[in-house]
C-alpha cells in the first residue's frame, strides 16, 4: 500500500515534457540500465544468492546456471 501511495505521489507530479526538453533524459546516466553488463551480473548474483529473480521490467532468459 505504501508503494502504491509512493507511485501515485510520483505520478501526481508528472508534467508534460516537450521534445526539445528531453536532453537530460537521454543522458547515459539517466537510463534505467545505464550499464547492461553490470545489471546482468547483479541479477545473476541476486538469483544465485537470494534464490529469487525477476521484477526488473524486462524479459530475461535466466542465467542458465545452477
Amino acid at each position: 500500500m505504501r508503494l502504491m501511495c509512493l507511485v501515485l505521489i510520483f505520478l501526481g507530479g508528472c508534467e508534460t515534457v516537450k521534445p526539445w526538453e528531453r536532453g537530460t533524459l537521454a543522458r547515459p546516466e539517466m537510463q534505467l540500465d545505464s550499464d547492461p553488463l553490470e545489471t546482468k551480473l547483479r541479477e545473476q548474483v541476486y538469483q544465485s544468492k537470494e534464490a529469487a529473480s525477476g521484477g526488473n521490467g524486462a524479459a530475461g532468459a535466466g542465467c542458465g546456471c545452477n
Binding site: 508534467e15 516537450k18 539517466m30 547492461p36 525477476g54 521484477g55 521490467g57 542458465g64
Partner: protein, 281 residues
C-alpha cells in the same frame, strides 16, 4: 522566417528522435567488455564439522556487441565466461545443543560456465520487437532459453509499456552421480512473463514500475546436497520500481531501485533498495 521555421522543424524532429525509455535503434556499433571477480567469505571453522570452510572464488568475464542492421533492425551478441572454485555446502548437522553445523565438500570443486546469447530487434516509429535465444553450458548443467519482447511508446514517448515472455529448458547431469547416489540426469523448465510501465515525470525524472511472474517445474532439488527434497513446482513473482532523477546544480544523477519478491515456497518479502548516485565530472 522560412529559415527559422525550417530550423525549428529540424530541431523538433531531432528532439523527437531522442530516446524515450523504449528501445531505439542504435546509431552505431557498441562493444562492451567487463571482468568481475568476487570471493565469498570463508565459513567460521567452528561451524563446519566436515569438509572445507573455504567458499567460492568466482571470476566472470562478459562481452557485449550491439550493432545496427539496416534501417530498422539491430543485433546484440552477449557472451559470458565464468570460472569458480571452492567448497559447497552438502548439508546441515545439528549438534548436541541444537546448533546447526555445516557439512561441506572438499575445496577441490572447480567449474566453468559459458553462455552465448543472440537477440535481434526490429524498430518502428513507436514500438520495438525483440526475439532472443541463449545457450548456457557447464559440465553438469545445460540450458537453452528463448525470449520474445515488445515495447510500445505512448503519449508522445512520455510513457512506454513493455511486455515480454521467456522460456528456458534446463538439463542436469550431476558429476559422480553413481559414487554419491545423486540423480544421474534430470530436467527442469521455466516460463516467465513480465511487464513494465515507464513514465517520464519531468524533464529530469523518470519512473519505471515492473512486474514479473515465473513458473518452474521439473527437478528443482539441488543434486549436490546430501538430502534435498523440494517441490517439483514453483511460482515466483516480483514487482519493482526504478527511479532516476538528475540534479542540474550537482551535476549528478540519483538512482533508486526497489524490488519486492514472493513465491509459493515461503520465501517472502525481500525488500531491496539499491540506491546509487552518479556524480559527473
Amino acid at each position: 522566417m522560412k529559415h527559422k521555421s525550417t530550423t525549428v522543424a529540424a530541431l523538433t524532429g531531432a528532439a523527437m528522435s531522442l530516446p524515450a525509455f523504449s528501445g531505439t535503434q542504435p546509431a552505431e556499433s557498441t562493444l562492451s567488455v567487463s571482468f568481475s571477480q568476487y570471493r565469498e567469505a570463508d565459513i567460521p571453522k567452528d561451524e563446519v564439522v566436515a569438509g572445507s570452510h573455504e567458499r567460492y572464488d568466482i571470476e566472470v568475464g562478459k562481452f557485449r556487441l550491439v550493432t545496427p542492421l539496416g534501417a530498422d533492425w539491430s543485433l546484440a551478441v552477449d557472451a559470458t565466461r565464468e570460472t569458480m572454485s571452492g567448497a559447497s555446502p552438502w548439508g546441515t548437522l545439528y549438534g548436541a545443543t541444537g546448533e546447526p553445523n555445516l557439512i561441506m565438500s572438499g575445496a577441490t570443486i572447480s567449474d566453468s560456465r559459458t553462455e552465448v546469447a543472440l537477440s535481434s530487434t526490429r524498430y518502428t516509429d513507436n514500438a520495438s520487437y525483440t526475439l532472443g535465444v541463449a545457450r548456457s553450458e557447464e559440465d553438469d548443467y545445460k540450458a537453452t532459453s528463448y525470449r520474445i519482447a515488445g515495447e510500445w511508446d505512448r503519449d508522445n514517448k512520455l510513457s512506454t509499456i513493455a511486455l515480454g515472455f521467456s522460456y528456458s529448458s534446463d538439463e542436469l547431469s550431476p558429476t559422480e552421480a553413481v559414487l554419491f547416489g545423486r540423480v544421474p540426469e534430470a530436467s527442469r523448465r521455466s516460463r516467465s512473463i513480465s511487464g513494465s510501465w515507464t513514465q517520464v515525470l519531468g524533464k529530469n525524472a523518470v519512473l519505471q514500475s515492473g512486474i514479473s511472474l515465473t513458473k518452474k517445474d521439473g527437478y528443482l532439488d539441488d543434486p549436490y546436497k546430501l538430502r534435498d527434497v523440494r517441490p517439483d513446482e514453483r511460482t515466483q513473482w516480483a514487482v519493482s520500481l526504478r527511479y532516476r532523477r538528475f540534479y542540474d546544480n550537482r551535476n549528478a544523477a540519483l538512482h533508486l531501485d526497489y524490488r519486492y519478491y514472493d513465491d509459493d515456497w515461503g520465501l517472502t518479502h525481500i525488500p531491496l533498495i539499491y540506491p546509487g548516485i552518479k556524480i559527473l565530472a
